[in-house]
Symmetry: C2
Subunit: 365 residues, 2 copies
DNA sequence: TTGTATGCGTTATCAA
DNA sequence: TTGATAACGCATACAA
């Protein structure tokens, strides 16, 4: 059989082959196989014949040729600033989910917090004619203006985890203030008064809003924040270091001798490091010190004790990002201007074993 | 400026435009911008002029057109059976690393352990003319024959985490037997005699080899495995359930009242569940019971106590997979038959806080 | 109801 | 040294 022979030789069968096999023209095959509107004028006989032949010959459309001709790549770029962050996987799944439904494919890249890599990848994606772009940003290492540029050049772009103040590119992010409010409220209700804080590094996007949210809420509740119970994660660009630094800082916090019955960590990884330090210093979690994190990454629930943490709807965020991009693509297609939408999702609190009622007042440090 | 106008309209500048701007022909531009061998015959003046113009106009090659013409997509498909598995991220990074160096781009897909999704994605990748394919397989949910088919059709394919017995598709995997040997040796040296085991689910690829490795090593060391200390994870297709089931099974193990001083978990997630159960039952890890895992996923080091576990060189595995595929692509390009290579990497043991010397003999359960 | 012809943006083979 | 020109595989406007 001809089909088999050509397949074995690695020569893909194309429309021309199908056309030849059915003794119809190339255009006919194209219309029929694509279910084009005009295809309904063909006789059922031809339609059948063509479809059968395509099947029999193992015809598979060449997406490259199709893209060139139709000017649609059916691909969207997905750029992670740092895919090592456990935050990313659920987001990716959310993205993939929506893209799959639309028969789009993600081109996934990982900038590793390196600006040159970011730029190179951006370039590669544009060369590949991605129809849209999703950037999962956690670090502040790059100037967003570049993306604005992009969004204006008919490549609908959305940022996950970072809100563009200039308002030219769409974004999906968690409401950090609402998140920390939940955490603080929870601790206050449990009777915690002396609360320690590990703040995020300045170069991480969420650091500032989370801290200001904490301050705002404390002020509103008429509570004081003891600055001697506040430590800062240093700037760095490696996910793993969050753990080590949190560990070190917590030790330092403890050594200050200032009592605290609860600790609010910048994120889950930080919380893990803090728990290790507390444990080593003989301070039991949660009996002597409650700990709360932020993110609810996968391992948080699997820790012993499981971590109470602010849960980001990561999958939904990814999904939304895809939807926004797909809407944008549709807009571009119809020669409309893609809308800039900014979603801020409200997180909830996963209350688990790492927090409990504050112990009777006494020193903990 | 013409360039600016066309960019704002979203009309990409192409070689033709550059050629027109320099008053040279299309071919000239192509040769020069691609640094083709023949380009060295052009006068330095022309060369400069063309390059400058391309720069000035913001020319960006259209990868789609290039692919169609050159029959090279510069893309490789990366299919995960279940990207939720923390095992995947480091592998992906390893893959990405090697691809980036070769200016290749990964098309990432997640089959979610669903055969139809797997097949659909496979189809999409082939339509997109991926030059190679990397499958990161942990579950046994699909027939590998499909991939063999592929490998023979000039799409170099490599499987990470699964060895194809029929020997038609390349693979990279960890030496499971060597891994469990390290774990067992470690425990024996620490004086553990009564060891409990949580075996992996049958549908997970690594389950069988790990268990047979344990048996082999125990036999070789003249030790007995107490079948009353062995439990099996049920089959399921969700990563999270590993934790819950391990938790439940460990409780059951404890309730059997049969003493053990160490527990070998199928993998890290399983170990997390076991630790939770032990802890809740008042059995201290590692004082009363040592626990060892397998994989060394990111959170393992951040647990308290940190998990002793067999470390898979995940990044290197991903990297290797990419290299194999790239070699294969080169082979296809040169009309050679891509070699089938099978790598089995030796893991090492990350000895951390979850294991220690066996306590003096007494009941633990 | 079906066929023909042109072009998508490149690369590559000819001539000149 | 450079310029025409023909593919690559497909979609589509226009003919027939």
């Amino acid at each position: 059989m001809a089909s088999k022979r050509s397949r074995e030789r690695g020569l893909a069968v194309k429309m021309r082959d199908v056309a030849a096999a059915c003794d119809v023209s190339l255009g006919t095959v194209s219309l029929i196989l694509n279910g084009a509107p005009l295809a309904r004028y063909f006789s059922p006989a031809t339609t059948e014949r063509v479809k059968k032949a395509a099947q029999r010959l193992g015809y598979r459309p060449n997406a490259t040729a199709r893209s060139l001709r139709s000017r649609r790549s059916h691909a969207v770029g997905v750029m992670f600033f740092d895919i090592t962050d456990p935050f990313c996987t659920p987001v990716l799944r959310g993205i993939e989910s929506a893209l799959f439904d639309a028969s789009y494919v993600p081109i996934v890249t990982d900038a590793r917090n390196e600006p040159p890599r970011f730029e190179r990848y951006l370039e590669m994606m544009l060369e590949r004619q991605v129809e849209g772009l999703i950037v999962v940003a956690n670090w502040l290492f790059v100037d967003l203006a570049i993306l604005g540029d992009l969004a204006r050049r008919n490549v609908p772009t959305v940022i996950v985890g970072w809100e563009d103040e200039s308002g030219v590119v769409s974004s999906v992010m968690v409401d950090n203030e609402a998140g920390v409010r939940l955490a603080m409220e929870h601790l206050y209700l449990l009777g915690h008064e002396r609360i320690a804080f590990i703040r995020g590094p300045k170069s991480l996007i969420d650091s500032a809003p989370r801290w200001s949210g904490i301050q705002k809420f404390a002020r509103g509740a008429g509570r004081e924040i003891d600055s001697r119970l506040v430590v800062d994660l240093p700037d760095h660009f490696e996910t793993d270091l969050g753990f080590d630094n949190a560990y070190r800082l917590t030790k330092e916090l403890i050594s200050r001798g200032r009592a605290f019955t609860a600790l609010v960590a910048f994120d889950d990884l930080t919380a893990f490091g803090a728990i290790r330090a507390l444990h080593e210093s003989g301070i039991k979690v949660p009996e002597q010190c409650s700990v709360v994190g932020f993110d609810d990454v996968a391992p948080s629930a699997q820790l012993t004790p499981p971590l109470t943490t602010v849960r980001q709807p990561l999958g939904r965020m990814g999904n939304m990002a895809s939807s926004i991009v797909m809407d944008g693509i549709r807009a571009v297609q119809e020669k409309r201007i893609p809308a800039v939408v900014r979603h801020r999702l409200i997180p909830d609190l996963a209350i688990r074993g790492s927090t409990q009622r504050a112990p009777a007042k006494k020193r903990t440090g």
